[in-house]
Amino acid sequence: MAGDTTVVGKSFEPFEYEVGREKIREYAHAVGETNPVHFDPQAAREAGFRAVVAPPMFAVVYCGGAMATALLDPAVGMNFAMVAHGGQEFAWSDLVYAGDTITTTASVRDISARDSLKFFVFDSVSVNQDGLEVVRGTWTNIERGV
């Protein structure tokens, strides 16, 4: 059966993402951020930061590659035509800055069924180039039965 629960606990290849200043700006603009620390290096330094600061939800950008690998794994077996993003959690530690290299490792936390719904829950842990944790994510996808 697709989505066999023996895949629970599986951890995927870490994914490395280099954070560019222009990517932070592009993201911050798209979500309507206005704080200059997300756009202007000088404003960021004057506010006490070492470089342009990624908004918290920029986590979706640097986690993206790791999550794609996990979600698309045939052993996980999600039927994408029937899947919706049901829930999301992030717990932030250190900030992420332009110039950082963030390494994210995704894993399968749980697969469960309730009524005609199937729940796929993934964890992610992201660390920066100094080995400091920057964010933990919990990603819940819900597949509707056919």
Binding site: Y27, H29, V31, P55, P56, Q88, W92
Partner: protein, 129 residues
């Protein structure tokens, strides 16, 4: 950060324009056609393209960071449920109410609503002073 249980956060009101999902797709890397292709959206029974849930979550994050004074370090945790679809060209309102405070940490019950539909629900933000 001086917040008391029951206190309401200032509302954040945003009306994403028609091309917002395109910009968010480029910024996030999520090019699922239901966000950017009206024909693909119609094929699955939607009246138009829909917003990315993680975009709406970013608005919830913004409202909570703003309530904490704008320092991006203030947002320690945010958990949300996506319970409806958001659409471009309609106003989204993000609200929040302080649930409890302890040891400099504030828990906020928060949600995003559009046209009476609570598209992000049961969300909890943790802020640090």
């Amino acid at each position: 950060m001086d917040m008391r249980p029951g206190e309401q956060l200032p509302e954040l009101r945003v009306t994403p324009d028609r091309y917002l999902p395109h910009r968010y797709a480029g910024a996030s890397g999520d090019f699922n056609p239901i966000h950017i292709d009206p024909e693909a959206a119609k094929q699955v029974g939607l009246s138009s393209t829909i917003l990315h849930g993680l975009y709406t979550m970013a608005l919830v994050a913004r409202a909570n960071v703003a309530a904490a004074g704008g320092d991006p370090r203030a947002l320690r945790r945010l958990a949300v449920e996506f319970r409806g679809m958001g659409f471009p060209e309609k106003e989204i309102v993000v609200r929040g109410t302080v649930r409890e405070t302890s040891d400099g940490r504030v828990l906020i019950d928060t949600e995003a609503e559009q046209d009476g539909d609570r598209i992000v629900r049961n969300a909890v933000a943790e802020l640090a002073g």
